[in-house]
Point group: none
Chain length 246, copies 2
């Protein structure tokens, strides 16, 4: 279960940190590393700090956009130390681990970490359902990126042990699977179109309203059946418009 | 309570690691660092990796023997990844944190970390009451020393309950209040009307679709601002209809 969870690093500046992250992951039996537009990679610094976790580095997938990295994922967490003016649903690493491995197992999961100096940008957090926040000293809250990955992967490893001990049966609930990040993006694109069509918003001024709507639908974790219903509603409101315009 | 717990590093080779340890400690509100015969200290590498935790470095006590460092302590943990032929009483970081801060508070505590390559020697573990072992991949079990300190200090911080207190403070963001049940009912009535108006459903057959939509919006816990936005969308889709019908 652990090995499928993606650790995604966005625009990491120091390759040594990438190596340290690989080591932190392997220490906790995790291997699925994605690098979005790293400044320098591969690098001797990364390999040196990986200290025997070169297999994780060698297997890392490098891509250009965060969307590519998380496209097939159903639950996406964005790690952040900063408080945000718009409040995101926050979750601790322990809650995250319980959610992913015990309460809602079987989903494709990504955990996204931002730049060393500035973390994730708001438009990147818009792609995440949960803000992952490591409890820490409020007056000195910026963990080194590899240290943050270490804490999160440690909690996942501990929870996976608990899950195994408790012999949790993976949720055979006959339910619909959760929508992927790519399906949600396509939904948001459709929504923006439809809201423009019905005159609810102008494309030029749509940014903050779309962000608010993302907040709502990201945190609800739609399944594919629910997504179908909502898209049906969008289509009807558009079709209606077109019929009336004709 | 946290600030009295000593983190003791024995014969650390790389000064960068000492700096990273200082940062990891300060992130978790810990300050009491002891260095037993460090190879190089102070050092620019240590200060650079400390990244703002220079106060912890400046306050560190350097001494020649482990005995000096732990002399006044009542509970001493020795961190170790290696299995030992002689079996020591083992404890996890979580158990350690509970013991120190919840079950047996008020004792002077030291947590001892060994050399980067070879850990603690048996004669050093003889001075410890408990072997502290971080759960990890049995096939790749050597954490970076700063990563190990990070995990242990994180568990101590979580146990200290400071996290809970601080989250309460963070939570007071002047957010919108959550919608009441009555507001939600009024929203669902409006939604049913609007979905009928746009031709998405027939009133007679609306029961199961409305139940599904309730499942979605009930679990998202809308605040009043968000509810206003969604009702605005419903109104626009209806107004559009009425304008076109007129």
């Amino acid at each position: 279960m652990l090995s499928t969870i993606k650790i995604v690093l966005v625009e990491t500046t120091h390759p040594g940190n990438i190596g340290a992250v690989a080591r932190a992951m392997k220490n906790m039996k995790m291997h699925n590393l994605w690098l979005v537009a790293p400044k320098i990679f591969p690098s001797a610094d990364a390999t040196s700090r990986a200290s025997g976790a070169d297999d994780v580095l060698a297997g890392a997938t490098v891509c250009e956009t965060l969307q590519e990295a998380i496209g097939d994922c159903q639950i996406v967490f964005g790690a952040s130390a900063r408080g945000r003016t718009i409040s995101w649903p926050e979750i601790t690493p322990r809650e995250c681990a319980e959610k992913v491995l015990i309460k809602e197992p079987g989903n494709k999961v990504a955990i996204v970490f931002g730049r060393e100096n500035s973390g994730l940008k708001n438009h990147e957090l818009d792609l995440c359902q949960f803000l992952l926040r490591i409890p820490c000293n409020s007056e000195y809250s910026s963990l080194n990126i590899a240290a943050a990955v270490q804490v999160v992967c440690y909690e996942l490893f501990v929870a996976s042990g608990l899950a195994a001990e408790e012999q949790i049966i993976v949720g055979d609930k006959g339910e619909e699977s959760l929508a992927t990040a790519a399906q949600m993006e396509s939904f948001y694109t459709h929504m923006a179109e439809a809201l423009t069509d019905i005159g609810f918003m102008h494309p030029a001024k749509s940014k903050s309203i779309m962000r608010r709507l993302r907040r709502i639908y990201n945190r609800v974790q739609l399944d594919t059946k629910e997504l179908d219903i909502l898209r049906g509603i969008l289509r009807m409101s558009q079709g209606h418009k077109r019929n009336n315009d004709a």
